[in-house]
Symmetry: C2
Subunit: 158 residues, 2 copies
Amino acid sequence: MLISTKGRYAVRIMIDLAENSDGGYVAMKNVADRQGISLKYIERIVPLLTKAGLIEGVHGKGGGYRLCREPQYISVAEIVTAAEGSIAPVACLVSGAKPCERKNVCRTVKMWQGAYELLENYFKGITIYDLMLKEDSDKGYIKSEIKKDTGGLNVWQL
Amino acid sequence: MLISTKGRYAVRIMIDLAENSDGGYVAMKNVADRQGISLKYIERIVPLLTKAGLIEGVHGKGGGYRLCREPQYISVAEIVTAAEGSIAPVACLVSGAKPCERKNVCRTVKMWQGAYELLENYFKGITIYDLMLKEDSDKGYIKSEIKKDTGGLNVWQL
DNA sequence: CTATCAACATACTAAGTAGATAGGTAAAAG
DNA sequence: CTTTTACCTATCTACTTAGTATGTTGATAG
């Protein structure tokens, strides 16, 4: 599987923070309740997002987490990469992987590379803002302000 | 990881069969030697390709395997799906997966679905013929005869 | 008919990953 | 000083990955 629960939960946590913050901090206990994810499991995903500079937390009463940037400037690619470590579809394309000795002979590596770029560009083109529920519109999804080139596809939007 | 060694080896085995057959059968011992993959490991990948109707084998001396179809009619999508079981990027999209109870609420499923379709179409558009080494051309890759819609991308071709 | 070759089948293993849970410590607010 | 919440470390079970080992079955060559 390319994206495990870790990556999927990470996206949902980010959406939840975006939707349920008035600019202040949101406690992970509340996120856990709303999302139906164990708090303990959330607590081991969240440090990955903090280290990636996507969220920040404060201790104690009234504490919690909040996004470091506006939702329209946080891409799904960033979140999933932070949570999963990589979104490379094959092991030999993970950055830091030991170089394949058949690389010069390999007739398939370009194909995998193409799949990787396709995925990366797709997820770079989707932001948290795109995934938020917005009351000011009943037309469903609104496109984010920074719109990346997805090859004119936008398959994900129905 | 979306595609493990099983899927990657499967593609390489198929290419090897396409390149090293004169229409007759090719012994997996030879494929193993050429590809540098353990024969024993090959022997547990190959039944998956047979079951999928991609290759067929005959026992005994002079036996081996051969493709059931011409290389230009065998897509990478078929091979990888046969070897891996699925190329769904997330668990909830694997066919036969237990239906998610948050499906109606889920703000992310469309996005995963889009990634799935992107990948599937990409790999459907690449055939064994596209990946073969062809002596009659020094321009590198030649496009397959059946050309699927890949959204005009063809990222994989350099 | 029998030796050989190669597909086909089953069992096993060592290492790693997935998906959590348990039990704490540290800091901030009231 | 108690409550709240982030933060840290360890443990656990089940499953998957990437193989190896040891055969059996079936076809062919001699």
